[in-house]
């Protein structure tokens, strides 16, 4: 009987001793963790996409609380999440404008001149390195879908005409496609922007005409005719300033190639072509 009692006694003593040590350690080495970090972490989507510029959602939550990062930095979340984060932080939600990706090239299989049949790695950067891409335009979309595969939110797909499509509802503006593209074709613009010149070519008009029927030839008629002065010419390419554009559409009528496009019609970025292709 005695050995059992000794064992029980020893264990009880040991337990008591260790709990005292742990209790003291908790007091001595106490680190304050702001409970808001965990709350914000729960409110964030948890996709860890990195679109905010931090290593992941928890890193961003810590940055909001400790470093004073802007609570609307999460690109993946909708307005409700930002509001939730703001209320945790006790701030009023001054919501920033939502940015989405648009494809600044309309040179599809019919409109862009194709130099050869490409046969090789399915990667836009690799195609440019080895062959320069099969489309003759040196600024346009290569059309092998590297951006589509880089999108963490499934907001992109390759259209049947070898141009990527962006679903404006799913796009969070995380910018992964912009990073992945070797040619700066997807660009982030405010969702409210009404007009855009969907071309990226800085070539002279003559060259553009040779390689694409819908490219910007740099004639600057849009700049001259815009009543709001919202169009600038940047190295032979017309660029619309969203802050000034009111969407009157004068440039759309004047543009000789159709490069200038209204973004107001919801059909634009998800045209019938893609759904037709899905069913086909």
């Amino acid at each position: 009987m005695i050995p059992i009692l000794t064992a029980i006694g020893a264990m009880a003593f040991l337990g008591l001793l260790l709990s005292i040590v742990l209790g003291l350690a908790a007091k001595v080495f106490y680190v304050y963790v702001d409970p808001r970090i965990e709350q914000i972490c729960d409110a964030l989507p948890g996709a860890n996409c990195g679109g905010c510029g931090y290593a992941g959602c928890s890193d961003f939550a810590e940055a909001i609380v400790c470093l004073g990062a802007s609570p609307d930095g999460c690109v993946a979340a909708g307005a409700s999440t930002t509001e939730a984060v703001c209320s945790i932080m006790g701030l009023s939600a001054g919501l920033g404008e939502r940015y989405v990706a648009r494809i600044f090239c309309q040179g599809d299989e019919q409109k862009a001149v194709q130099r050869f049949d490409y046969n090789g790695a399915l990667d836009c950067a690799a195609a440019i390195v080895s062959t320069g891409g099969d489309k003759a335009c040196e600024f346009g979309c290569v059309g092998l879908g590297t951006c589509v595969r880089a999108c963490p939110f499934d907001a992109m797909e390759m259209g049947g005409n070898r141009l990527p499509l962006v679903d404006q509802n799913l796009c969070t503006g995380c910018g992964n496609c912009v990073q992945a593209c070797p040619r700066e074709i997807p660009l982030l613009i405010p969702i409210s922007q009404k007009t855009a010149n969907l071309c990226s070519s800085h070539e002279a008009g003559k060259t553009v005409k040779q390689v694409c029927s819908i490219g910007c030839i740099g004639c600057s008629v849009c700049k001259k005719k815009c009543p709001e002065g919202a169009v600038d010419m940047e190295d032979k390419l017309a660029v619309v300033n969203p802050a000034h554009c009111t969407g009157q559409g004068v440039c759309l009528e004047k543009c000789p190639t159709g490069s200038m496009v209204s973004l107001q019609s919801p059909a634009l970025e998800k045209p019938e072509a893609s759904s037709a292709q899905e069913t086909a």
Binding site: R115, F116, D117, N119, G120, A121, L122, D123, A125, A126, V129, S130, T131, G132
Partner: protein, 448 residues
């Protein structure tokens, strides 16, 4: 092209020479070249000079050329139109400078200045300089506008200088061609033997080397025979017909029997590789004062039964060469500069012949190698076995594909010579060389 079915080494037993019976020199890995059972190198033909030439001014990556002519100027054949520090670009035909294009795109994608010259009947000013200067050997070599192209293009003048300063003992004369044993260098060795040997003698003399080794494919019976019958003092070394035996690194390995560190140059081992064509042009320049205005090239594939070798004026559009040889390019055929395994496909039929155009290969639509776009490596190891540089191609290409460029570099990405053996043997057709090229260019872009 059914290369696999042609892999049986061909006509070794038809050769009588002693030296051929000994085991031909070679290297580890690589791909057996197609050796037809019976063949005769066709006579080298000279194509007529074209009416228009296009002359890109970038033959050497490190040497920018200074333009010597203006638009509309009348120039005489052989007159320098571009001048580098130690080399010249010569006008291939007499005529008028029609256009100077500052943004000419070479097949590899690099931009350069290109001059278009149209032949014209107008009178030429008399003071135009003669083709090759009369003074010493060195001047003559400089005046040929030749560059040595056995690996990376260096002006011949520079190459000879470095051979001298590094006290190279043996010159290796490269009579091997990319991919076809009936190619241009073998034809040169069998049909222009005296000129070739005279050129080798001059090179040995000028470079201060002690001896020269002429490397020939053991299967090129005619070339071997002509060389041996000529009674030359040079050592003739038959090597196994394998791709990429013509590459400098592997040729030096085959000749010296030594695999050497990638950081060393052949000159560090006391040898230096010079192509047979260079030797030929040196002899013509020094002995006959003729400049290297033509380029010896091989045209193969397509509807040609046997590879054809011809002298083509530099700057001739490819289309003209092919038309002259009766070659049609059908829709979907591929025109490749430099052979089916490691060449560069071109899409523009007006691409001009340059000093770097050695082989024009036409791959029929039906023979195209179709790369897979979604295949995954299943680690069969075939590429590792065949890689002549002893790399692990699946690893470096996989790292490059995944964007892990530093890991690719740690696994010797830059040692790869892009010979294309790995992509050829890969059973799931992964475009390995393309991924490797992507990795290299991404790292170079990061550095610059």
């Amino acid at each position: 092209m059914e290369i696999r079915s042609l892999q049986t080494p061909g006509s070794l037993n038809s050769l009588k020479q002693e030296s051929v019976r000994m085991k031909a020199a070679s290297f580890q890995g690589g791909l057996a070249l197609p050796v037809p059972d019976k063949f005769e190198s066709q006579a080298i033909t000279t194509l007529p000079a074209p009416d228009r030439v296009l002359l890109p001014l970038l033959h050497h990556p490190e040497q920018a050329y200074e333009l010597q002519v203006k638009k509309g100027a009348l120039i005489k054949q052989g007159q320098p139109v571009g001048e580098g520090v130690s080399s010249l670009v010569l006008a291939p035909i007499s005529g008028k400078v029609e256009e100077i294009n500052k943004n000419f795109k070479l097949p590899g994608g690099a931009l350069t200045t290109a001059i278009r010259i149209a032949a014209s009947d107008e009178e030429f000013p008399d003071e135009a300089p003669p083709a090759v200067p009369d003074s010493g050997t060195l001047q003559k070599i400089l005046g040929t506008g030749l560059s040595e192209l056995s690996e990376s293009p260096v002006p011949l003048f520079e190459k000879l200088r470095s051979i001298r300063s590094k006290r190279v003992r043996t010159l290796i004369i490269n009579c091997l061609d990319e991919f076809f044993i009936q190619g241009r260098s073998a034809a040169l060795a069998s049909q222009h033997t005296p000129d070739l040997l005279a050129g080798i003698d001059l090179l040995v003399q000028y470079s201060g080397a002690e001896s020269a080794v002429i490397t020939v494919y053991a299967e090129s019976a005619q070339a071997l025979q002509s060389l041996q019958e000529s009674g030359t003092k040079c050592h003739i070394l038959p090597v196994k017909a394998k791709h990429p035996q013509h590459a400098e690194k592997l040729l030096v390995t085959a000749v010296t029997g030594r695999e050497y560190d990638v950081d060393l140059t052949p000159e560090d081992l006391g040898v230096s590789v010079i192509s047979a064509e260079t030797a030929y042009w040196v002899s013509r320049a020094v002995n006959r004062r003729e400049a290297a205005l033509d380029k010896l090239l091989t045209v193969a594939g397509g509807s040609l039964k046997e590879p054809r070798n011809c002298f083509v004026r530099i700057g001739t559009p490819l289309q003209e060469v092919l038309t002259h040889l009766g070659q049609d390019i059908a829709d979907g055929d591929k025109v490749i500069l430099g052979g089916p395994l490691s060449g560069q496909a071109v899409s523009d039929p007006d691409t001009p012949v340059t000093q770097q155009t050695h082989l024009v290969f036409i791959q029929k639509k039906t023979d195209l190698h179709v790369f897979s776009q979604d295949a995954v490596c299943f680690k069969c190891g075939l590429c590792v076995q065949i890689c002549p540089m002893r790399l692990m191609p699946f690893l470096i290409s996989g790292f490059s594909e995944g964007g892990l460029y530093d890991l690719a570099e740690k696994n010797s990405l830059f040692t790869c010579i892009e010979c294309g053996c790995c992509a050829y043997v890969c059973p799931v057709n992964i475009p390995m060389v393309q991924w490797i090229q992507l990795g290299k260019s991404a790292i170079r872009a990061q550095r610059s």
